[in-house]
Subunit: 160 residues, 12 copies
């Protein structure tokens, strides 16, 4: 098999910038989906059901976007890497605590991790403005959804 | 928050045996789902479309079972752990190769990893026969599906 | 009409053991479904909506299982009895309090009653291991679902 | 928790009349749904399948109406009571016979019990004409469905 | 175009009474749907998700009823008026506060406004008893749903 | 077969009044459904498609109501008669013209016939107020839908 | 409006033959659908539910075919006539008896009327073999369905 | 192509026992599905429709299980054989009579054949208890459904 | 029960010709559906998944047509015979090989058997041209689908 | 690759006649679908919405039939040709005007082009009567739908 | 409760620019949805049905976008304001006329108001190019849909 | 009818640039959809089924985008032209070969043509960056999908 069987519609340098943006987004999103499930299974407390269900919407969004991002990497001629080891080593998201967590701790932990993912995503939206408008458009779409979910998680911190 | 907010219908020793079986199954299945997606994104060659689609059925089954297993852990009073780091450190499944892979290599790699997961699963079916019949029933159901998929992957190696 | 129009695939003694297990399970599950509705209609407080909705999932599961259990009784040649009077007289579930109840009281009451049903169910799983594997399999399936729901109710007691 | 947390859109006397109508309707309908299931599981004879299926339509209607009636009780500031003991003690429907019943006996028993429920319902439609038009409208809707089902059961008695 | 292109099945005086009842109901319901959305977007606090979702059920019911009411106005030969200015000037519902609101404040505000709408609706049910039974029937149906939702909102105030 | 196999929840005189109301409504509605189809197949002109589709909504409503009305007749112990000959002889709706008709003529003909059906229906709503509230409620529901459709047909006559 | 606004793909004589076949089929099918409903509402006896449901399948098929046939008439430039008076005067189906009928009488009456419709239909299939193959194909399709239903009705007469 | 392209998770002796159980179950179930269709097409008499429909539920269940069983054979490394000749030669189900059969004869014939299939299935459940728990679980699931359907067929014999 | 409870719309000689055509088609199609499943379960090789799925489309079409053909036999007053023994003895399709087969062998075997079924079907289309146009139309419809599937199987033999 | 990889169930001369009929029908239908879309995008005027929607039904029918026709060509061993150049060169449908068109002009243009397609189709129905009844049946089905749509377009020309 | 419980991913000045764009878009869209319903209820004339239906597509789009816009405001840390009074005071859309309107007047009024909304929207697309690409992307999506609907309304003005 | 009945939200020069981009995209996409169908019907070889199905996804995407592009042209006041002749004369996609093609040749031909369409699309994305952001957004969305499909086709060339 040839080393690079998929050609790219981009120049070599645009491809490199775009590839980096996509690979790091992929890793962040896979980590977010694993963290979402971990929280989904380990939340306890009066708000259990509400937080439990909302976490599955986060996981569902994150999983859907990992597919979009990995497919986009292929579309620009780059092999995506989403293995457990790669995620454990290069994710930009803080490690989630072990064991059951109260609903309040869970909400705080998700708000904090969503902020990390969003901040890094906004940087990549800027970087891809020159390298590939199609990729940028995908990242914007992801940001729109995650920023919306970020509000919905943050809204739960208001009355403590 | 109390240390162990969920009570168990099992005795302490049965709970320990069952908990180990569930936690290691959880890790194997999460790894299998990540490997399935990695393979889904990186397969190339004439059989691309067929293997690409079949991998999503594997991922879909694996993801569904991770939920069942983690929920069962909770049901017996044990906190499940499915974080990226935990998976990278304790999975019983061989690491998947980096980069694009031909369809043949992909099929071989999946057959091998399914065999690993199934072999370990059958051991745990024996172990839980005494500790918890409800958990055993769940593991048998998982084995039935994975052994069926194992045949479907192996069937593709026959005419080389 | 003949006295026993349905034959049994079991021996007389296996049939008797199995019949007792099924009849008492039937009564417990009908009572659980009535209690679930009573709680669904009478819960009040900040967690109203969340508990109100979750109770309908309990009722839905309980109702589905009463059908499975009564049909299994017929399948082994036994007439099931699920009348109001029978339930009022022979249910193993504690009576539910009258009047509106706060969400916290409701959660506690459901956790306690689920524990009663599960404990009795596990005894019957042991008893039917010799008398009828098909019935045992059904009881295991019911236990799996009720123990899962038990965790979800119990999880809400953690942060008081 | 306050004794009566839900206010009423009715005057105290209208509320009392309406509450009685709703509570007794609730009990009758729960009993009807339990009887319907009992008959569904215990009917035998050439008409088995036809009667078995038709009984589930009766149960489905009865169950749906119990929700409407209990919710209406809440809406006028009254706590509904649908526990097994309450049903066993205060239902206006005759007790259903034990054991398997032929299809003919089943049809006769259902026709008779539907007549009881309908007769009592029509009295309450008159009583609520002054106390609450909204409740009356709900009772009329229930009567329309039960009288229709009553015809369909009675139609089966014609050619004996 | 003629001034009044739609004829009426009612006498002139019945039509006037009925028209007033319908027009003021229309305005109240449009306002209720706008308030529901305003609350849906501005609620914050631990109960955020639960209240956020419940508000969309209120909006959905209110929007459906505005169509029924406006269509009924046409059916009796009257042009309905549901413009923003008309609503702002003639609604019988109190203005909703600006800015984000805690879940508790939101629940209180909705309970209060539902009471206003229901009280006015009950007056119109009396008024249309003589003028148009068909319109009355529609208003009764609306009252039934809003009184049910009123209970569900009020139930959340019980345990403070 | 007995002469009157279905009993009635009404007194003999109430039953007679109600039966007449239902039988004449049944005939009018069947005729309306046949006229609707005749118009559906024979309309021509620029507005063909719009009128053609709208006629099927009229037919669909009319057909649904014939079932409700005939079932209600049975529910009060009366045999409904909806044969072609009965409709041709006793319908209160004017005969529809033969051959293709322009869209304008079609609209006028439908408006006129809907007015006939509605006028007769309103009389029967008055008549059944004393004899049977359940039947009256059904006739009110039919009037609500037909008066709504009447507006929609009449609305098309406005700008000629 | 012109007298014949729709042109025909057929010669004048082929059109006449085909038009007659379609018009008489239309009338028979409308009558069959009215008879089916009349029987559906008036059947009584032990087989009530079974016959009641089967009649609606007959009505549903007949109604669907009336649309096909009337549309085909238009497609060959002929105005279809399906008014109550036309059906009463020109249908080839025997009048259905008044009042409730036992299930046996109902089955016999439907078998007899289906035979009448089928016999006439087979004649028209021969007549249109020369005049219009497209119309013939539609009549064959109708015969296939009605002959199938005829078997299903006749099968019920076998064991008396 | 290699002789045995699919490996087995079982030891050679366990595989042989399990393979025999699966192959004979496969043949019985295919025969049952063919017999079910034969009966479905050839039943006549007053109960035609009811028996005709119920037979399709039997066929549907039987067909679904043949797939499960054949796939399970593959999963343990055995080629399943479901050819017409194999079924005709090795099925354990009695031959079904030729020609149309009355509903009563049909019910008796199905009850008898279901008993044959169930008796043989229960033997295999015992045999696979040692050889393969996963296969046993599948056979238990099949027995549960067939024994339930057996009751439903037998219930129709009660009132002769 | 009478010997021939279903009458025929055909003359005795037309009925005999048509009956033979339908009975032999029924047997061929049942055999084709069994062969399709046998191949579905036993195919191996790189094209496994593609051929495995395509075979289920063949089975699904064949099964659907067996119902149409057997119902048509009844509709012309003939009892259809689709028992395992009848198929094994009178099918016109060659026996399928035992054991797993490579995808290429499978494709060749299906192409060959489809050709056999189609050739025999075309003869029967000619034979029924005089005896029964309705049956001929059904056979034409079956031929259209099988010839289409024949192309799709043959297309896979092109590049060897 | 072989020159003609797909065999034919027809003789060489029947195949040639049938192939010509199918190829020219294919081209006409593709052109009709392109013209339908062109008209769909370019219609303006008061009847815009109605004509715009109706055109999509034409396109949908035409597209569906192109698949049927091209697949039938393959089924008789002929390669279908539906390329833009082939359509532009050999279609029997008049070129559609450029630019926006009023609704009236659009209706006239579609009526005229449908007449062209239908006239040519009827010739081919005659030609294939001897060469291939299966193809003829497909062409008859297409004619039935297009002649129905032709009426619906023509009906709009009636009242100018 | 804190004054501003939701943080923003934007700088203070970018947030202000974006907030203004979103708030004024929200008000315009709510007004558009109210105007759409007002027109939907008050249109009369030959084009009634067509315009009536098309207006609901406008309302449906407008309502969906108000949710997107209000959620985006929250996502950037701004409380959206969509109250009746706010809309009445700050909408950029001209007031809609009172009373029934002919279809022509309705079309003109909608075209004019859509132009107003689009013109203002395009200004905001420019303004947010610097302040927030994610918001800009949402506004572009809204413009795409409204400009498409604007064409469809304008297309109806062409042939007067 | 006026020459340009649809106004534009763009300046004259922006409109011209944008119109050219849209018209040439429209032609390319229609050609792509016709080529996709031609390939769908003419592919042969072992990979037939896989390529056959994948081509329909290409056609489905291309057809959907032609609607979006043509509607966008209208939205900016330009009449789109998608006639067969226009496509044959101005498409930027190479002509597809006649006759059946092997799966390999088909894959190569599609990869090549997708590259042509994508290259031209990327140029137009640059051109519309200044003229119309709304159109640019649509073209970016099309590029994203086609580049993804391009990868999926190219992936199949890797292992030859």
């Amino acid at each position: 098999m040839a080393n690079a069987p998929i050609t790219s519609p981009l120049t070599e340098s645009d491809k490199e910038v775009t590839a980096n943006a996509l690979q790091s987004t992929l890793v962040d999103l896979i980590d977010l989906s694993l963290i979402g499930k971990q929280a989904h299974w380990n939340v306890v407390g009066r708000q259990f059901r509400s937080v439990h269900l909302q976490l599955d919407e986060l996981v569902s969004a994150a999983r859907g976007f990992t597919d979009d991002v990995a497919e986009r990497a292929n579309a620009i001629g780059v092999s995506p890497n989403g293995k457990a080891k790669t995620v454990a080593e290069s994710s930009g998201v803080s490690e989630y605590p072990d064991n059951w967590q109260s609903a309040e701790t869970t909400v705080d932990a998700i708000v904090e991790r969503l902020e990390q993912v969003i901040r890094r995503l906004r940087t990549r939206i800027d970087e891809t403005d020159k390298s590939d408008l199609v990729t940028q458009d995908l990242l914007i779409e992801i940001a729109q959804e995650l920023e919306k979910q970020h509000w919905m998680w943050q809204a739960q911190q208001a009355d403590r």
